[in-house]
């Protein structure tokens, strides 16, 4: 009897995160004046607004993602998923890519869902194809693209082709070259379901856990994007009218650092009237596949070793697929 009570005594003496949180909140309250005074610096104020905006804009989509993830964990058995998907990974990749059309959200929603799919036994290659396809080819994003480019209906087709190709190529590349140990073990471990727990309890616990574990990374991504948004000189845009290759590269980098929601990026691309169409298409293909916010979320979901390989590869493949789709659908490099 002595040992547990001593353990409990130690437990009671240790400072827990709850107390730390309380201290943080009290300190922040006391420092409210200086905090607000910091906003007198215009660049800090702009950064703070952009940061809150990205968080506020992305949270509903992250919530959608964790809810879908929770529903899959509670109600879709691994067996049912295996029955739906083709047996070979090569064939499962395009099916998963097409399934991405059914998740009407932006990239923040697809990260928790694709991780849940992996945990439920879907081959990683197929889950990754879903991860890349879902934010770019769903109807909401395609309609937004059509609205943003009223005079250029071929932009929608080109975007669909480029993004789908990126997703499939990356899926097949992973099937061929990917190593399971690159994905953090915690990402693939299925949460054990205690006997007697209701489906509703599994649903809420999974959603809660996903929200907590990916929310922090969303904030990290939002913070990075806000800082870059303030620091990246706008004169980048001015240099884009001449050289097509340079234009494609700069627009691809811009897609990564701006971290726009895939439902909004078409409007931004449409407003850059000085830039030719092809670099703008690459912007639309790269953005939903890889940006700073997404890399942060992927690091959280699948681990650093995964993200450090997957993100650069996706960046290259997305530039190639976007350019190719542009040349094929839009014709010459206008």
């Amino acid at each position: 009897m002595a040992a547990p009570s001593r353990a409990r005594a130690i437990e009671q003496r240790r400072i827990t995160s709850l107390e730390v949180l309380c201290v943080v909140l009290v300190l922040a309250l006391l420092a409210q004046g200086p905090l607000i005074r910091m906003l007198d610096i215009p660049a800090v104020r702009t950064g703070a607004t952009v940061f809150v905006a990205i968080c506020v804009q992305a949270t509903p989509f992250l919530v959608l993602g964790v809810l879908v993830s929770g529903l899959i964990a509670a109600f879709v058995s691994p067996l049912a998923l295996r029955r739906v998907l083709p047996r070979t990974t090569t064939a499962a990749v395009p099916i998963a890519g097409l399934a991405g059309m059914a998740l009407p959200g932006c990239e923040c929603a697809s990260v928790p869902v694709s991780r849940r799919l992996m945990q439920q036994g879907v081959p990683p290659a197929a889950a990754l194809a879903f991860l890349l396809a879902a934010p770019a080819v769903n109807p909401v994003v395609l309609v937004a693209t059509a609205v943003a480019f009223p005079g250029e209906p071929r932009m929608v087709a080109a975007r669909f082709l480029g993004s789908m190709a990126t997703a499939l190529v990356m899926g097949w590349l992973w099937a061929r070259l990917g190593r399971p140990e690159w994905i953090a073990q915690r990402a693939l471990r299925r949460p054990e379901r205690p006997p007697g727990r209701s489906a509703f309890a599994v649903f809420t616990e999974t959603a809660r856990h996903d929200m907590v574990s990916s929310g922090g990374f969303l904030v990290l991504g939002g913070l990075t994007a806000a800082v870059l948004n303030v620091l990246v000189p706008a004169s980048w845009m001015a240099s884009l009218t001449g050289n097509m290759v340079l234009g494609i590269l700069v627009m691809a980098l811009l897609a990564v650092v701006l971290a726009l929601c895939s439902e909004a990026d078409a409007f931004v691309a449409a407003s850059l009237t000085a830039v030719p169409l092809l670099p703008r298409l690459v912007f639309l293909v790269v953005g939903p596949a890889v940006d700073v916010k997404l890399v942060a979320l992927q690091t959280g979901a699948f681990g650093r070793r995964f993200a450090s390989r997957f993100a650069p590869a996706t960046f290259m493949v997305a530039i190639a697929c976007g350019s190719l789709a542009g040349v094929l659908v839009l014709g010459a490099t206008r």
Binding site: T16, S17, L18, V20, L21, L25, L29, L35, I36, L39, P42, A43, R45, T46, A48, T49, V50, F51, V52, A53, I54, V56, Q57, T59, P60, V63, P150, G151, T204, A207, R208, H209, M211, V212, G215, G216, V219, L220, L223, A225, A226, N229, V230, A234, S235, M237, A238, L258, A259, L260, C261, A264, D265, F267, V268, A270, S271, L272, T273, G300
Partner: protein, 234 residues
């Protein structure tokens, strides 16, 4: 981080979303049509936190393992909570306009522009005004007084502009429009970022590529206005 702390953070985060949805300050950050999604997200996050607090309380002392190794990243959730509750950053303004050198022409309207509304000085959206000044072949602005609402931006060489930001989805994707103000005393001492309604007449041919498609307005009257509930144009 302990499970209890995570739950408290979720309640705070959900509460923060509900707060900005309720008091309307979400319009500083995102477009109006996001409101229902914002409310849903806030309520869902709030309930996820409350449900698991309730579950833990009911389970009482039988729950032994309170440690949930979600990592240190969860602490970052404190940042948006603090930013919303304590700082509440204002809508973007003059700093963003001066920062964006995107001197591109507004998109050419697909259809011919309708004539200006009747009346002595119709109110126009800033973005419509600039589009008309750049593209309107029928020259609908010629000889007409118009009213514009925006904030003051002081530029290089004592130039004063009226600026406004156009949002697609959230404040990370805004593009700026601005109109140069002239011909009115005291323009140079107007407060940066102060909101004004300006009445005036465009100088024909002032919105060309050499002025970076920024029209010039000869101001005949101006008076301060409160910050609009929708600070952005869409």
């Amino acid at each position: 981080m302990r499970r209890e702390t995570q739950n408290v953070l979720l309640v705070l985060l959900g509460g923060a979303l509900c707060k900005i949805a309720y008091n309307g300050s979400f319009l500083r950050y995102v477009k109006p049509s996001l409101l229902p999604f914002l409310i849903c997200a806030g309520v869902v996050i709030l309930s996820l936190g409350l449900i698991s607090i309730g579950r833990d309380v009911r389970a009482g002392r039988t729950v032994t393992d309170h440690h949930d190794h979600a990592g240190r990243s969860t602490w970052l959730l404190v940042l948006p909570v603090l930013a919303i509750f304590l700082v509440a950053p204002p809508a973007l303004g003059a700093d963003t306009v001066s920062r964006s050198a995107r001197a591109v022409a507004p998109k050419q309207p697909a259809l011919a522009l309708p004539p200006l509304p009747a009346g002595p000085a119709p109110a126009l959206r800033m973005s419509d005004f600039v589009t008309r000044a750049v593209w309107d072949d029928a020259d609908s602005l010629h000889g007409r007084q118009v009213r514009l609402v925006g904030f003051v931006v002081h530029g290089a060489q004592d130039s004063t502009y009226l600026g406004r930001l156009v949002m697609a989805c959230c404040a990370a994707d805004v593009t700026s429009v601005k109109v140069r103000l002239e011909g009115y005393r005291g323009l140079a001492v107007l407060p940066q970022d102060g909101w004004f309604e300006v009445q005036g007449q465009v100088i024909p041919g002032s919105a060309k590529s050499n002025t970076r498609f920024t029209p010039t307005l000869t101001v005949s009257a101006l008076h301060p206005v409160p910050v609009p509930t929708e600070p952005y144009e869409f």
